[in-house]
Subunit: 413 residues, 2 copies
């Protein structure tokens, strides 16, 4: 007979459509494990631990496999999120004292934190503090971010689904654009402040008849508005409808965001930040005589489960399960990762890596995956992305709307 | 043996995800009909007739049932579109002479025009001209518009799919919004310059746990920015995350578009029109101390076949088929319509109506379907919309992206 101990799981950072699949993986594996008695979830990330907002996930899911299955395809974060950075323990240790008091009170021996690079900083700090005070707990990070900017992992859960949404939407926008016998420029603004992984995914929309997007601009290379206008003019010289995919985070040669340059003034006379797409729309309007439209894909690229990647959902779930196995094996202060073993047929394997190799670091698109003209991506990049958007999860629909797991507990807390 | 005659079909106005299903219905029915020899399609609407840009649809589809099936779930317009209004024949008859020369040349006895109220004006004019010159042709209008603003039809093809996209997206945005333990206001701008049918569809996102959108503003009633701020404040007094659905076309009490009021100035010092959502975002930011975001659903609400309504696609197809049967029965100068016979179980029947009852007219949301507070819709309106978004067509995917029918012919014309 094992001594009964409990585990705790929380989610942090921005939403993805795969982060709940990782949570479901943790729950599914922990439910099977005789060493773990109760699975707790903290609401709103580490803040929920500090404020003792814990819910009993064993009660919710142990007798309800349908709910657990539904969790895998529910967008955003079932446990809610936070953007809270722990101070270093030398600056202020009150948070640590409070968190470990809760760990003690609930007999938490395993803590799983699902998040991006900021959240991995929390995993790093808590695992180090536990060692320092000799507290018996395994702290494991589970990666997620649509931005795909974590180091030492082939790609991050959430990225494949966002990429699929972006590529499918670009293809549909192309069909929408091709119908008029007019010169038009359509600019699609895609998320990514520093890394261009998401914007690059627009290229997956290309097929035998669709060559859009015709221009792709990532934040990894300096953006020149003059060169941009030249590029658009060149495209317009041999096709009627030009579609441009652009990262929200493109910057000029001195590193200033293009979106910050518009200097728009609102009705109160205050300078406003417009979107990058809107800025470029106005620029094309002023410079070239043709119809222009900008489209901001906005938050749907991170929450549109209705067009998500089965590969992404399954990998996110397996990473959750793997984290439980590793924690039971005594691993702590690590993040679970996946490595691509083969591209064709696509296969990955799962392991873990020291959290300090990941926390607070950022993986950008390699320069040799961007074409010399700085307005497109290479075939190698295409091959990297293609397997990540494969497969469609089966979604339930009720009255014509996708069915997701209710999140009342977030609304009433 | 019937004398062999030909038919012509074209599409006009803005795209929907169901307009190709109507085209497929026309083709499917006309292929079966011994009276019709060749089915021609004009590219870019009536302009394609004027410029003799006709393609042979019998060749493309008669031996390829898979292509015909794929056409039903291909977004936007396979034949392209135009925004071209025929002059009245008394002002300028050259267009009429040209069009009927083409009808004569290709032995066109049936002309089907799929479009919204402007396109129905073309149907009206051509059918009248044919009678005037005693030209033997049946001219039939087939309705489509995401705006649902055509008279004498229960609802328009294209509306149900757009409504489904809007409602599903609002639900996903709600999941995205609920995760932070913060006061936030999210404003979703939805298409509709004069009619609020699309914005009202946001209410279909509501379910047992999701009460969003919490406020809905349609263009049918005057919009007061002061009342809007009061409404938002009231919502914020009892919930953390407030989600607002607003028509792009809301106007103040003197009929001026709210989007025109922002008076933003671009980098060249020119006044710009921002979106309605962006205007309200800035207003809330200046007035209330909370996080605000605006989201413009933009063209995806009219082209996102990846989440379309099977009911909508099937009805659009049946309207196409019906138009062929009616034309063969000698009907001309009419638009095919559907009438709701029962709401539960939902059933409709198909007939036609004189084109002059429809052309250049606009159906707004009835005032008694808007609540007294002018910030929500009634249950009666909900019951009207609910059956229209039912069912999901089976889409093919290849390499993770929906497969649509190629439109090379639009790109190379």
């Amino acid at each position: 007979m094992f001594p009964k101990t409990n585990c705790l799981v929380a989610q942090s950072g921005g939403p993805t459509v795969a982060i709940n699949a990782s949570l479901a993986g943790v729950i599914e594996e922990a439910l099977k494990c005789p060493k773990i008695d109760t699975i707790y979830g903290a609401l709103n990330g580490i803040l929920g631990v500090l404020e003792e907002k814990l819910i009993n996930l064993s009660d919710t899911f142990s007798d309800d496999p349908e709910a657990l299955s539904l969790l895998k395809t529910t967008p955003s974060m079932y446990l809610g999120s936070c953007r809270y950075k722990l101070s270093s323990v030398t600056e202020k240790d009150s948070d640590y004292l409070e968190i470990f008091k809760i760990f003690q009170k609930f007999n938490i021996k395993y803590f799983f934190y699902i998040g991006g690079n900021d959240s991995m900083d929390t995993v790093s700090k808590l695992s180090k503090y536990a060692k320092k005070i000799n507290f018996d707990i395994q702290v494991i990070g589970i990666p997620k971010t649509i931005d795909n900017d974590l180091m030492h992992i082939d790609h991050t859960p959430g990225y494949g689904s966002a990429a699929k949404y972006i590529a499918s939407s670009i293809l549909e926008i192309a069909h929408d654009t091709y119908i008029y016998d007019l010169q038009t420029v359509t600019i699609v603004e895609i998320m990514g402040r520093n890394a261009g992984w998401l914007t690059a995914a627009s290229a997956l929309a290309r097929n035998k008849y669709n060559t859009a997007p015709h221009l792709i601009y990532l934040p990894e290379t300096p953006f020149s508005t003059q060169q941009f206008i030249k590029d658009v003019e060149k495209e317009l010289s041999h096709r009627k409808q030009v579609i441009v995919a652009v990262s929200e985070g493109i910057k000029d040669s001195i590193g200033e965001y293009i979106s910050a340059k518009s200097g728009q003034v609102d009705q109160f006379g205050h300078v406003m930040l417009s979107g990058t797409g809107k800025y470029l729309e106005n620029l094309v309007k002023e410079t070239l005589a043709c119809k222009v439209r900008s489209i901001e894909l906005n938050v749907l690229q991170r929450c549109a489960t209705h067009i998500s990647s089965l590969t992404d959902i399954e990998e996110a779930c397996t990473l959750g399960k793997t984290s439980v196995s590793l924690a039971l094996d005594g691993v702590t202060g690590e993040m679970v990762v996946l490595t691509r073993d083969s591209n064709s047929p696509y296969s990955v394997s799962y392991s873990s890596i020291s959290i300090d190799e990941v926390a607070n670091k950022e993986k950008l698109v390699p320069m040799n995956w961007i074409t010399d003209g700085k307005n497109d991506i290479t075939n190698e990049f295409m091959e990297y992305m293609m397997p990540l958007i494969h497969g469609e999860p089966t979604l339930l629909y009720k009255n014509g709307i996708p069915v997701y797991l209710p999140v009342d507990h977030l609304l009433n807390n």
